[in-house]
Symmetry: C2
Subunit: 185 residues, 2 copies
């Protein structure tokens, strides 16, 4: 899959004064891993938005992001220089009788946040999962304090089905809720 | 862990005319696997209550039930003859900042259903998870048509937080919802 996403007006997402970035979303290759890890590592180390252990090793992160059965990994790159601006993965949320619902995860590089990369990645991921035959997409653990992400998913048609109380130990905010979000695709 | 559970009155669960079984719940050992598999296999093959592939192999089932990192596996046995009447497993529902919430799964042998085994297993599992330091227990995928299980969990203090629509392809009922259930422990 290799889709050029034109990122249009994004009225409901706070955008910095930086211009939006042109984004090419494509399937990741093994050669992308070093740049994917550069994108993931600061986010996992910060521990504010993901449940991966903050001290996760690069090998463990690679296994968790790219080595899970049936996972599809995407990258968003700047088509002008090929730099990886973000990454997504999706896979069946459950096996067997639950495998028609995709689960997905997204990380945008710190200096590309607020420039439309997450939206482009999400749209491409939904399109790709739909093409693969998935009928819905579910996020199991959106940290409720990650408000920009919640707003982005809501603007893309995801509903908060519930918020599991105190399910996330935030490094500064204490125990906060995890949203379960969902949309048909 | 080895706890003898006296199974008291169970007013809110349909009980057959069979007497309730005495149940000893204890940590599983490798030697229990053949009987655990005897318990699991018909349930997984039926595909009505779990998202495991219906054609899952014994090796895959063993890996999924007993081989997941940080999983604790329990069995309920009949203390009069040592027969395995049911099995449970629990593990962190998420790693890292979500690892204080346990996820658990339960299967009761077909001819022991309705005789208090599920309740004894669930109570022992909650106790064991609490002792391990978990603060809550979450079920991610309780099939909404599995009404006896839903009633049992509710009677044990679990709430349905949400029902993910059409998330389970039931072999006869079509697409049905999956409850996310939760309680503090």
């Amino acid at each position: 899959m290799s889709t050029l996403h034109e990122v249009g007006p994004v009225a409901d997402v706070r955008v910095t004064s930086q211009e939006r970035l042109p984004v090419l979303v494509r399937a990741a290759t093994d050669a992308d891993w070093p740049e994917i890890w550069q994108t993931l590592e600061p986010v996992f180390r910060a521990g504010e938005t993901y449940t991966y252990p903050r001290d996760i090793s690069e090998a463990e992160a690679r296994a968790a992001w790219t080595g899970v059965p049936h996972v599809q990994v995407l990258v968003a790159e700047d088509p002008t220089d090929g730099r990886v601006l973000g990454t997504a993965k999706y896979l069946p949320n459950h096996p067997g009788a639950g495998s028609h619902v995709a689960n997905a995860s997204f990380v945008v590089a710190g200096d590309a946040v607020g420039r439309g990369v997450g939206r482009a990645l999400a749209e491409a991921t939904v399109d790709s999962a739909r093409t693969d035959g998935f009928r819905a997409m579910q996020f199991n653990a959106v940290v409720e304090t990650n408000e920009s992400a919640v707003r982005l998913w809501q603007s893309l048609g995801f509903d908060v089905l519930t918020t599991v109380p105190a399910a996330f130990a935030h490094p500064t905010a204490g125990f906060v809720g995890l949203h379960v979000m969902h949309r048909e695709i």
